[in-house]
Subunit: 246 residues, 2 copies
């Protein structure tokens, strides 16, 4: 058996998320099916993160153990051929030691959340960004974001379905950057709670719209109470950007 690590780009629009499900197409299933078509083997993929329905991946990392003797390049080419026309592409494929694990060896994860801040309807970006018509004060959003950076109990920003043992996480960075009508929120941490990025972004948007003050964000965090969540942003704008390994 050889442990192959994959870097995967995917457009989340047609998928029920990363993880294999009984009902509906997922990215994991698409790749596992392609591996089966290429090798005849039934392989279970392990990924650095799980993404919800409609969430995208720029460089998701995953691994699978394959018996068939193939170079990483040939495997990647064959998988990409079988993945068409699904919007999933293997960008890189490498052989890793057997004790390397895409999920458990991962020491950092980063996401970007993209907002298009304009009144005019979306054309190219439907399903790829969150459109917010009301002007966002991104300076206030960035200021409020800094209250979330560090080690906190993120219960307020956690989905009811979150399976993490603890709600205490360390957020390494949360930066709000505007480039004309495009607003990007960059988040980085060792790991995130389920819905944490979307929940933080939703509340940041309330700050940007002046419906919350910067202090309201601090109060919501300190409350450690899910009923204090102001808004959960839609999946459309969320991208898994990168996984770090030391």
């Amino acid at each position: 058996m050889t442990r192959f690590a994959f870097t995967v780009e995917f457009d989340g629009r047609p998928f029920m998320g990363w993880q294999r499900q009984a009902h509906g197409p997922t990215v994991q299933q698409a790749i596992e099916d392609a591996i089966h078509a290429v090798t005849g083997e039934t392989v279970t993929l392990h990924a650095a993160g799980r993404t919800d329905a409609g969430v995208h991946g720029l460089a998701m990392r995953a691994h699978g153990d394959i018996a068939k003797d193939m170079t990483p390049f040939r495997l990647m080419e064959a998988l990409n051929a079988h993945l068409r026309p699904a919007p999933v592409a293997i960008l890189h494929c490498t052989v890793m030691p057997d004790d390397w694990h895409a999920r458990f060896s991962c020491t950092g994860r980063s996401y970007v959340y993209r907002i298009t801040n304009r009144r005019a309807p979306l054309t190219f970006e439907k399903g790829l960004v969150w459109q917010v018509s009301q002007h966002l004060d991104t300076d206030a959003m960035h200021e409020a974001a800094q209250l979330l950076v560090g080690k906190h109990d993120f219960t307020t920003f956690r989905s009811a379905h979150c399976q993490s043992a603890s709600a205490v996480k360390t957020l390494s960075a949360l930066d709000v950057v505007r480039d004309s009508e495009q607003v990007a929120i960059h988040a980085r941490a060792r790991s995130f709670l389920h819905h944490q990025v979307r929940s933080m972004v939703g509340c940041l948007a309330l700050v940007g719209m002046k419906r919350w003050s910067v202090a309201d964000m601090g109060d919501a965090l300190e409350a450690a109470d899910r009923s204090r969540l102001g808004l959960n942003a839609p999946p459309d704008g969320l991208y898994f950007v990168a996984a770090e390994y030391r």
Copy 2:
């Protein structure tokens, strides 16, 4: 009658191009139909440029004369509501003097042609870029592009269906810029021949692939012979960027 000028963004994938046609949806028709729905008037739009099937617009300029008394803002909002779900958005709407003409007053047009230079299949960008798998030498492409800048007979780079009176045009700028796997070719001129940008890009790609030398580009231009065209790039990567008015 009031002359309204529109700035239009559109995803060209579902359209047969800008200009109204008997068969198939066009951007012009979508907007004219929306104007009819809002005002009850049959208005003919005039645009700064005509784009082919599958070509996109970031800020096409167009005008139409409308009798109904509306503010530009209300007209824009109503048109955008009626344009849904077509991927066409009116970004700006202003009132212009009666002697202002989106096409005839236009003194400069710019396009960008986007190439994704990688082996992995496209995900987010299907239909929005030209994918070139073979590595492109963008320095050589930029060098070859400079041979095309200036006043020349562009017969080699002209469609057989081109209706322009003369093939002599002045190309103001043609810049090839790489950002990682993304290659952008920026073209600016007072006006272009039909297929000129796609034809120049196709030949630049041949230079980038080392199938043409830089000197081959100069020879093809000097020949002023359409049979010397090396390659016409697909519409997918072409965007009308802006129209200038003095």
